[in-house]
């Protein structure tokens, strides 16, 4: 049974990191890979939300320091890049496993 990874509602990070690839094969293997990807996506989304909040606070003049907002943005960027790399590795590993199973 195919397990599409991306969800229907599309936050940008989710779409970038988890393309709607079909993962045929036994659900246990796909489930583990999916778990790793979900973890990466959650981490990226969390730091992205934090960055947005921090920048928004700064812009609204409620007293957030500029360097705090910028560092939150950098954290989100780093999380995103790491997430991309994780996706690349996971997809490659999955494809390798599928190839071996053929």
């Amino acid at each position: 049974m195919p397990l599409p990874i991306s969800s229907i509602t599309i936050p940008a990070t989710r779409e970038a990191i988890a393309p709607a690839i079909q993962m045929p094969g036994d659900s246990r293997t796909s489930g583990e890979f999916r778990g790793v990807l979900e973890g990466a996506i959650n981490s990226v989304e969390k730091s992205g939300a934090q960055a947005e909040q921090s920048v928004s606070n700064f812009l609204s003049g409620s007293g957030e320091e500029l360097h705090t907002a910028i560092l939150a943005t950098q954290r989100a960027d780093l999380a995103f890049e790491l997430g991309l790399q994780v996706r690349n590795k996971v997809v490659a590993a999955y494809q390798e496993v599928m190839r071996l199973q053929m």
Binding site: F58, S60, G61, S62, G63, E64, E65, L66, H67, I70, L71, T73, Q74
Partner: protein, 144 residues
């Protein structure tokens, strides 16, 4: 309370010191003025400073726990209403019937020293603005 609020604080310091300097200069220029439109000799003026919260157009009503930073403002200008200094100059056009002329009670040396103090404080406020600009620029550089 963002670093940007520091700009408002130092700007208020500059305004206050400049107002003070203007009054001191007026005092010095009128140290010998015996006749004013209001009648009588020139009376020494002084600026009274009070701590005021520094506002900035970008700050919102809901500031952080530390609240608005302390700026400064001139709350009032006091005029010296003490008795003028009386000098005996019978030939002076402003002399009264006893030959005394009323002069402003001003010590130019004192006001000169105060003026130098005001200038120095003004410059310190300018230095504060310069330093916060530097710190903000470094924060921006964190993005590179």
């Amino acid at each position: 309370m963002s670093l940007f609020s520091l700009l408002s604080v130092s700007a208020s310091g500059m305004s206050a010191q400049r107002a003070r300097a203007e009054l001191l200069v007026e005092n010095l220029a009128n140290a010998e003025t015996t006749r004013t439109p209001e009648g009588g000799p020139y009376r020494r003026k002084d600026a009274v400073f009070t701590t005021q919260p520094a506002e900035s157009p970008f700050s919102s009503i809901f500031e952080s726990q530390l609240g608005r930073p302390d700026g400064v403002g001139v709350s009032e200008v006091v005029v010296d209403n003490s008795d003028p200094e009386r000098r005996y100059l019978p030939g002076h056009p402003d002399a009264d019937k006893d030959g005394y002329v009323a002069f402003p009670r001003i010590n130019p040396a004192e006001d000169m020293v105060d003026l130098m103090g005001a200038t120095r404080s003004y410059q310190a406020n300018v230095a504060a603005i310069s330093s916060v600009k530097d710190m903000i620029q470094r924060s921006i550089d964190l993005l590179r």
